[in-house]
């Protein structure tokens, strides 16, 4: 140990942990890093746990995935299956499918691990989606976190890739048909589609290469990328320090919360075990993807009512909704399958483009270059909240359309009618959702104003000496009030006039004008927070509340005992 200048002179370490730490630090200077992290303050809120669900599901995926990889054989070589289940005994199938059966029926705990793995994948993507919703609706993607939003969106796409490539590995009828749909979508790509199909399958569908290829993608490429990006994601989170919800003492220049060690780390660690526990319970008790019921892949059969995993439903629904007339033959007899390209490539392309560019669009229309560390309450940014809900509405409508056959059979409805309803809803739904959400937000903001100005209703009716009745309102305490008045009102951009002082037309005016229009779309309707002056005015004016009831009321209440008892 060097002689130290810190206030607490560290003595020669005596414990095992102390000695190890000393050994490590003498070689790595790890103490500098630990100093930053050990008592680092993290804000606390239940919604900050949503990202942890995704992270920990991913850890469970890695653990259960290693288990499965020990027993799975990614080969499409044909073999005759021997052993359980009885229905599959003696059937010709790929080694991949046969090893999937073996790991389910012969390996003890194998089926459990398969089911845990599958459920974890579903929860992983769901965790990412709800985490993104939290980040979006609270504006946590704003500077300096735009980059981390992009990393997160990439992670979402990678999670879909991971799910898709894993789903196809058992080589059963369902996943084989899923691959065939993929092949059909790939072939629809103009000019290179056929060659892309050969690129993926190593020849014609299904060939004998796709399973080993997907295996490499599923256990090497995608998880490596996810791990790397998760590293970047968490590093940026620590670097920028976590955002915090608004409240007393929370500013853009501080972070209020609990130190990493011990409470925060303990909760986080506990959360990992709880999430793992939930996934183990799901894997143990909820059967999923019983591939032996479907049988090995055969290009002929298909089961009705088959659904992809939930995160692929929106693509499936998109494919189902598009009318076939869109397929056209262009000049020179080239076939352009817009009936597939639009729903399977363009629609998801638009959805993801929205996610990628939104933070930058919002910053631009807000004219915003500042750093933000205090989150928005969703009501205080009505246009953003509305857009987010519109986006989700489109996503949910597509996902429901992906289950239109199940809706039809469960509710005894015509599939054609359902499809038509969804076709219309896909366009009308998001617009309506935007409008109604924005109105609700503005309404909530007005309610906040109302509360700040007039306080809580107490239900206590008081009669004055002159016979007038009032209801006593209880003023908000300062923390309640601060939450409702402390937000930034954004206004539409103001731009330079079209011509300068000498009447010369300004370059770039039209562009500015377009941005201003978009800005108006965002911020034309707004509700300003209450100012102290307004509150004072309300007090002075407020004949029915703010009468300092605690002082005046007893005298006034004298004659109104009955009225009070009624409440």
């Amino acid at each position: 140990m060097s002689t130290t200048t810190t206030p607490h002179a560290t003595a020669e370490p005596t414990t095992l942990i102390g000695k190890s730490a000393d050994y490590l630090d003498q070689r790595t200077k790890v103490g500098v890093l630990a100093k930053q992290l050990v008592r680092k303050v993290f804000p606390d809120h239940w919604s900050f746990m949503l990202g942890e669900i995704a992270l920990f599901s991913f850890v469970v995926l890695l653990i259960s995935g290693v288990f499965l990889a020990m027993f799975f054989e990614p080969s499409m070589a044909l073999t005759t299956h021997h052993g359980a289940p009885a229905t599959m005994d003696g059937q010709l199938m790929s080694v991949a499918f046969s090893s999937t059966l073996d790991m389910s029926f012969e390996v003890r705990g194998g089926l459990l691990m398969r089911q845990i793995h599958h459920w974890s994948a579903l929860i992983f993507v769901a965790g990412i989606v709800v985490h993104m919703m939290r980040v979006f609706f609270t504006g946590a993607f704003r500077k300096p976190r735009e980059l981390n939003w992009l990393v997160g969106t990439l992670l979402l796409i990678l999670s879909l890739a991971a799910g898709f490539s894993g789903y196809s590995l058992p080589d059963d009828v369902l996943s084989g048909n899923g691959l065939r749909i993929t092949d059909g979508v790939v072939k629809s790509i103009p000019i290179i589609g056929s060659y892309m199909s050969y690129f993926i399958f190593g020849g014609e569908f299904p060939g004998e290469h796709i399973i080993p290829r997907l295996f490499t993608v599923h256990i090497l490429l995608v998880p490596a990328l996810i791990l790397a990006l998760v590293g970047v994601h968490l590093f940026l989170m620590v670097l920028n320090k976590h955002t915090q919800y608004p409240g007393g003492g929370r500013t853009h220049k501080n972070v209020v919360g609990y130190p990493a060690v011990p409470a925060f780390a303990t909760k986080m660690g506990g959360n990992f075990f709880i999430i793992f526990g939930v996934l183990a319970l799901m894997g143990g008790t909820m059967a999923i993807n019983n591939v032996w019921n479907y049988g090995p892949y055969d290009p002929s059969p298909v089961s009705a009512g088959a659904q992809p995993d939930w995160y692929m439903l929106f693509l499936e629904g998109s494919l189902r909704l598009m009318p076939g007339q869109a397929e056209i033959v262009t000049w020179g007899d080239w076939t352009l399958s817009l009936n597939i390209l639009v729903p399977a490539v363009i629609v998801p392309g638009l959805l993801f483009t929205f996610l990628f560019v939104y933070p930058f669009i919002e910053a631009k229309v807000t004219g915003d270059r500042g750093e933000h560390h205090v989150l928005d309450r969703p009501r205080n940014v009505p246009a953003r909240t509305g857009l987010g809900v519109a986006f989700l509405t489109a996503f949910v409508i597509l996902a429901l359309a992906g289950s239109n056959d199940l809706i039809a059979t469960h509710f005894a409805l015509s599939i054609n009618t359902i499809t038509w309803v969804f076709r219309i809803l896909f366009f009308v739904g998001p617009v309506f959702a935007f409008w109604i959400t924005k109105r609700i937000c503005l309404g909530l903001q007005r309610k906040d104003r109302e509360l700040v100005l007039h306080g809580h209703e107490t239900g206590r009716i008081v009669r004055f000496a002159n016979g007038e009745y009032i209801e006593v309102h209880r003023p908000l305490d300062e923390q309640e009030r601060w939450l409702r008045v402390n937000y930034d009102v954004r206004r539409p951009l103001e731009i330079e006039p079209a011509t300068d002082a000498r009447g010369v037309k300004r370059k770039g005016y039209k562009k500015d004008k377009r941005w201003q229009r978009l800005s108006q779309f965002f911020y034309e309707d707004r509700v300003e927070p209450v100012t102290p002056a307004e509150l004072a005015a309300a007090h002075a004016h407020g004949e029915h509340d703010e009468l300092e009831p605690q002082h005046d009321a007893p005298a006034l209440v004298a004659g109104s005992g009955s009225a009070e008892r009624e409440h």
Partner: protein, 350 residues
């Protein structure tokens, strides 16, 4: 209303930060500061603390029991190869593991929430960007580095290094890409195993079909009649993926028209089973309407009317296999399909 008390937090964020895209307002409320810390029951009542300590210890103990239980379940319940046997083993193992994990998880969270300090701390944030001084040093560093490399004075090198770096990935990409697509012969999309004289056989048994065996209203899933041993290879699966056919016999009076002139035989029609949308097997036949529905995306074809699309995302009718009967009364193909089966692609009509 009471007056605002002095903020307890380190900051009174009274004025706006500039550059937040908002108009500065002078008339603002004052930040009341971090709310006063409220002690929990466990902070003030040693009895409650002791009780919670016990709860946490019990939860950890439950976890230990869960772990032991999972090991017992592993050794005691051997799956016997039947589905119920495997299910039992799976449920017992899963629940025991869950108990083991929940015990630790809930104990840790409960510990953190009741016994560990929950005093709020306030930490200052610093600007996310580095200081101007640092930026200056970095800028100078790069400038010096560039100077030292001499690349500005030697433009030839600039071009040379960029070219070499841009080209070298081809050494990997060319062999990879050219091998990965097999023979790249996309013309195979146009041909299937069907040819003149190939018998139609039941899928999967491979038994040839006699026209007389088919009653009106019956449906058969059909493959080309090839020797059984040929049906045990990858080539077969790939060929079958293109060759599968759905055979329907309807009352000739119901049969309005063929998609391919003269392709049907006495009310028996044979259509490719591969959807012209994205290639799912079209398998749901409705006898009354003669509608064929794809279960994947609900494209609906009317096979009494040249399999024209009556609903859904497909555009084109299913290709029709021309059939007749041979001298022994078996159904045979008269020819291959005269168009590529399955989904559309760019050069389909070429």
């Amino acid at each position: 209303m009471s007056e605002n008390q002095n903020p307890q937090g380190p900051s009174r964020d009274v004025t706006r930060h500039d550059g937040h895209g908002t108009v500065a307002q002078t008339d603002r409320f004052v930040d009341p500061g971090v709310p006063e810390h409220r002690p929990r029951l466990t902070d003030t009542d040693p009895k409650a603390a002791k009780r919670n300590e016990r709860i946490i210890a019990i939860l950890f103990a439950v976890s230990c029991l869960g772990t032991i239980g999972s090991i017992v379940a592993y050794f005691a319940v051997r799956p016997d190869g039947t589905t119920p046997g495997v299910r039992l083993s799976t449920v017992l193992l899963g629940v025991a593991i869950a108990v083991s994990l929940f015990g630790i998880g809930f104990a840790a969270v409960h510990w953190a929430k009741t016994l560990m300090s929950n005093k709020e701390y306030v930490e200052e944030r610093h600007s996310s960007s580095s200081s101007d001084e640092v930026r200056g040093v970095v800028q100078q560093g790069f400038k010096d580095g560039l100077e030292d490399s001499g690349i500005a004075r030697r433009p030839v090198l600039k071009g040379a290094v960029v070219s070499a770096l841009a080209l070298f990935p081809l050494t990997i990409a060319v062999p990879l890409v050219s091998s990965v697509g097999g023979d790249w012969n996309v013309g195979k999309f146009r041909h299937t195993l069907w040819k003149k004289g190939t018998r139609l056989a039941y899928d999967p048994s491979g038994r040839p079909i006699k026209a007389a065996d088919l009653t009106v209203g019956s449906v058969a899933h059909v493959i080309p009649d090839v020797p059984a041993e040929e049906r045990e290879s990858h080539e077969w699966i790939t060929e079958k993926a293109k060759a599968v056919v759905l055979l329907v016999r309807m009352d000739p009076r119901d049969h309005k028209r063929d998609h391919r002139e003269g392709a049907s035989y006495d009310g028996i029609v044979a259509y490719s089973k591969i959807c012209t949308h994205v290639g799912c097997p079209v398998a749901l036949y409705e006898q009354q309407t003669h509608h064929l529905l794809c279960p994947c995306h609900q494209s609906t074809f009317d096979i009494s009317d040249g399999s024209k699309v009556v609903f859904g995302p497909a555009k084109r009718p299913l290709p029709q296999l021309p059939i007749t009967v041979d001298s022994e009364g078996y159904l045979v193909a008269e020819d291959d399909f005269n168009e590529p089966i399955g989904p559309s692609y760019w050069e389909r009509l070429k």
